[in-house]
């Protein structure tokens, strides 16, 4: 088992003809992911890395039965791509694109919730189920199958941890990068819930960072609903306090946006928190 992506994933690549889209399509195909279609308006009928290209998602879904899409289009076209995927019948959208305006994300999340479509990201590395499907940009070379579920708000920090796991022979069920933007599609809780329900996942590693209250909410969830062991790392203990404007952020978050606040909340929930990423491996071994 695994979560979100697996051998049944029929992947559509939005923005397949772009620099990133084309490069990573090759990587995903090479990994063995079932990439069934690409979309780029005006390039319908072409082929890229053995994948057929369509003008619209609707056409691609009708022709190939795609059920998952990954978005590589530039930020100013990303909202359009996500709406198109949702309207075209895609069930899981993974958005790699960064720098999407937060008010666009507010509208997108409301729209997708009403349609019951799951979004992972934006500004995330995507997800990978070792030996089954790689959707996004997590390097295939650093993962291996095994019992650990990994969920992270950070991109490259995830690789760091997963690489360390794999180097020590500890494999993963699925690695999920949810992205660090203020407003995104999938939260820690969403993924923890799925790992808790996944029969093959034995333990979970959760990688958070300063800002927002997602880690604190996850801590409350873990305390009340998780039976599986969770190990965490929070980045940003030494980050300087930004030159803060106004009082609103402090009113909303209080002390909970800081690394100290998050670590305290997690430890209170029974989560072991590593002091540095290299340490995590020893804690789950």
């Amino acid at each position: 088992m695994s979560i979100l992506v697996n051998k049944n994933t029929r992947l559509l690549v939005q923005g397949i003809t772009g620099r990133e889209g084309s490069f990573h399509t090759q990587q995903m195909v090479d990994y063995g992911t079932n990439v069934v279609a690409g979309v780029r308006a005006g390039k319908g009928g072409e082929w890229i890395h053995g994948v057929p290209v369509f003008d619209t998602v609707q056409e691609a879904v009708e022709a190939t039965g795609a059920n998952t899409s990954v978005v590589y289009v530039p930020a100013r076209f990303a909202a359009d791509a996500i709406y198109e995927a949702a309207d075209g019948g895609i069930e899981l959208i993974v958005c790699i694109t960064e720098r999407i305006p937060v008010l666009d994300m507010v509208k997108i999340c409301g729209y997708l919730d009403a349609k019951n479509v799951r979004l992972v990201g934006p500004n995330c590395p995507g997800l990978i189920t070792p030996d089954e499907a790689k959707v996004g940009i997590i390097p295939g070379s650093i993962v291996m199958p095994g019992p650990i579920g990994v969920v992270s708000r950070s991109g490259t920090l995830t690789y760091e941890v997963v690489y360390a796991l794999t180097s020590r022979g500890i494999g993963q069920t699925t690695c999920v990068g949810i992205g660090g933007d203020p407003v995104n599609g999938t939260s820690f809780i969403d993924v923890l819930q799925m790992f808790e329900a996944d029969s093959e996942t034995e333990q979970v590693i959760m990688i958070g960072e300063i800002g927002g209250t997602d880690e604190e909410k996850a801590a409350a969830y873990i305390a009340h609903h998780m039976t599986k062991r969770v190990t965490a790392f929070i980045a940003g203990r030494t980050a300087p306090a930004g030159r803060r404007m106004g009082h609103a952020g402090a009113i909303v978050e209080g002390k909970s946006g800081t690394a100290e606040g998050k670590i305290a909340a997690l430890e209170a929930a029974g989560v072991r928190v590593a002091a540095n990423p290299d340490e995590i491996v020893g804690m789950v071994a």
């Binding site: 620099r19 990133e20 490069f23 990587q27 930020a75 100013r76 790699i96 960064e98 720098r99 305006p101 937060v102 008010l103 994300m105 507010v106 509208k107 999340c109 409301g110 500004n123 590395p125 940009i137 997590i138 390097p139 070379s141 650093i142 708000r153 950070s154 991109g155 490259t156 920090l157 995830t158 690789y159 760091e160 690489y163 360390a164 660090g180 203020p182 407003v183 960072e209 300063i210 927002g212 997602d214 790392f233 980045a235 203990r237 030494t238 980050a239 300087p240 030159r243 404007m245 106004g246 009082h247 609103a248 952020g249 402090a250 009113i251 909303v252 209080g254 540095n276 990423p277 290299d278």
Partner: protein, 381 residues
């Protein structure tokens, strides 16, 4: 991007929020002229992108144009939390203030919606109110599809016990603030205080606004408001080349891809007894020329005694990063020792390039950090 008070208030006023008459001045003479036009009784306010200017003496009342000029002379050039005051706002005084209200819109990350907050206990101590008497802060979430509705502002006004004759005006102010928030892709729009004047009218005496940097591409007018004087030159160069750089006080320069890994790298440097000289995230999809710019920026800081590269390729490719480093080093006379850690997408090719150029490399993050700390200490000796 943060806006100055006068910029924020002008954007609010555009949406119908009443603000005091006033204008901005860069010299004492200008300040005098503005004060004269306003009738003499004014407040002189430092325009600086940080809090605490009041306690620092950056806000003063003047009763005559002469006094305004003298105050402006004192405030202009003042250093507040490391920032130099280059402009003052001269506003007419609002006599007989009856009440100070707090009003703000921001994104509530947890609910994934804009939220408006209001409190009758406005003014300087609102954070304390939030901590000690949270029931005095009223909140409504705004569905962007239907906007801020009148019943929501009625709920806030009634919660704050605002006099009922002011409810329609309060709705206009709140709707104006939300409109300014929405139209300008703000992440924060705040009025503190919103006052009931002696004449019984609502007026925004102070204003703050932060703009979502990711949305600036569709707001050329706002990009023009950027006060580059308040930005360290290195940070400005970084921003213009798409690199996220914040200068700190340590001696180990860091170049990392990804904000999380960059923070973790700083954390581990500190764990091994070093001090990071900066936060630097070269971002996703960084090309070799961006890497070169980033390295130039790091080395422009004279405190830097060693540089740690930590790049885990995903969307960033190891070979591009390696080429960027080599290219930058060919242009800069870099006497500072460096450690490179390169993993992930195209890392093999990148390592080959670096080894050809005789660069020191490391495998684990701990190893890389320890090496960098030692190298920095070695230079100190």
């Amino acid at each position: 991007m943060n806006l100055h008070e006068y910029q924020a208030k002008r954007l609010f006023a555009k949406e119908g929020v009443p603000i005091p008459h006033g204008d901005v001045a860069s010299t004492p003479t200008q300040a005098r002229a503005v004060a004269r036009d306003l009738g003499g009784k004014v407040v002189v306010k430092a325009q600086v992108l940080t809090g605490g200017r009041g306690k620092a003496g950056g806000v003063k009342l003047a009763n005559t144009p002469d006094e305004a000029e003298a105050l402006a002379r004192r405030i202009l050039g003042m250093n507040i939390k490391g920032l130099t005051v280059r402009k003052v706002l001269i506003d007419e005084q609002s006599p007989g203030i009856q009440q100070e209200i707090y009003l703000a819109v921001l994104i509530d990350r947890a609910r994934r919606l804009p939220m408006m907050m209001a409190s009758a206990a406005g003014g300087m101590d609102i954070e304390e109110v939030a901590e000690t008497a949270p029931e005095k802060i009223f909140r409504v979430h705004i569905d962007p599809n239907i906007g801020l509705r009148q019943y929501q502002t009625t709920y806030l006004a009634s919660g704050m016990d605002l006099p009922q004759n002011l409810w329609p005006d309060f709705h206009k102010v709140a709707a104006g603030l939300y409109a300014a928030f929405l139209k300008n892709d703000a992440s924060l729009a705040e009025i503190n205080p919103l006052v009931i004047t002696g004449a019984g009218k609502l007026m925004a005496l102070d204003g703050k606004m932060s703009i979502d940097d990711n949305a600036l591409y569709r707001h050329a007018d706002l990009e023009e408001m950027r006060d580059v004087d308040e930005e360290p030159p290195a940070e400005q160069e970084a921003r213009l080349s798409g690199v996220n750089y914040i200068q700190l006080d340590g001696e180990i320069g860091c170049m990392v891809n990804g904000a999380g890994l960059a923070m973790a790298t700083m954390d581990i440097i500190k764990l091994f007894g070093g001090e990071p000289a900066n936060f630097l995230d070269i971002g996703g999809g960084a090309k070799s020329d961006q890497v070169a710019t980033a390295l130039r920026i790091i080395l422009s800081d004279p405190r830097v005694k060693a540089v740690l590269f930590n790049v885990f390729g995903g969307i960033v490719r190891g070979d591009e990063v390696a080429r960027g480093i080599i290219e930058a080093l060919s242009q800069i006379d870099a006497s500072v020792p460096m450690v490179v850690r390169l993993l992930g997408t195209n890392a093999e090719e990148g390592l080959r390039i670096l080894e050809e150029a005789n660069m020191a490399t490391a495998t684990t993050l701990s190893e890389a950090a320890q090496k960098a700390v030692q190298l920095a200490k070695g230079v100190q000796r």
